[in-house]
Symmetry: C2
Subunit: 151 residues, 2 copies
């Protein structure tokens, strides 16, 4: 990408910074709204969910019978579905902000002890209905970038 | 999904509403931050961009040499890359908000007249550098949902 400083060497104007994994995890640690992305039966899908970060993994929950949950099944025991999880925060008036992209596997928490781990993570869904199925996204690759505007 | 009203028939608690295409397009019409999702060389990718809606299509721009632009090339002339574009707006304290998902093809605006159309759409990138390559996402399927909290 063309993210050189301006020709006169000043720091004026927007600056694009690539973030390391530690900074990415720090940024997404508070939890909130993130977006789960996967290739489902209706093609590429991106859906916002309420998530928590707990011991380095992302947790969210949904209804057992939802399309999302069904789509995230490989049909093979212990074979997890590859997903991406995106979180960002932008100040539209300042034209500044950051985004973090986590690639990993969507692991369904079926066993009792895993349910307990997820409850400890205290993930509250916003959507109505019984959403007692937990998914954990175990990060494999974490990348991020920040746009700062010093103009 | 389990989005029935509560047993006593009251409207208390969160309500999940599926939005029709016209309502989705109305919600994303003001432009702003959206997220382009595609399967690139580094697996599934979701990246925020500044977009405009113009004559029913989504426009954004990036640097000609960026990974995003290269990833969105099929290598076949006139064969467009399948993408998803997500826009949402949530009030985290009220636990309310909406999200819209546009599935479509990422069409590269190579011809002069297409560049002109994109300039008319007035898409301003935030990131630094020369971002004079335009992409138009022509919607094929538009879906959305809203969570309202009347509790």
């Amino acid at each position: 990408m063309s993210d050189q400083p301006s020709p006169d060497g000043s720091a004026a104007g927007p600056v694009l910074e690539h973030l390391d994994e530690a900074e990415c995890l720090r940024l997404i640690a508070p939890g909130g709204i993130g977006r789960i992305a996967y290739t489902g039966r209706f093609d590429l899908t991106v859906l916002p969910v309420n998530y928590k970060l707990h011991e380095g993994s992302i947790y969210f929950r949904s209804a057992e019978d939802s399309l999302t949950i069904q789509d995230l099944r490989t049909g093979i025991k212990d074979a997890d579905y590859r997903v991406a999880f995106e979180v960002d925060d932008f100040d539209e008036s300042a034209r500044e902000g950051w985004s973090v992209l986590v690639r990993g596997r969507a692991h369904h928490l079926d066993a009792d002890e895993e349910q307990e781990a997820a409850r400890l993570a205290d993930v509250e869904p916003w959507a109505p209905g019984e959403r007692n199925h937990f998914i954990r996204v175990v990060p494999v690759r974490v990348t991020g970038r920040r746009i700062a505007n010093s103009a």
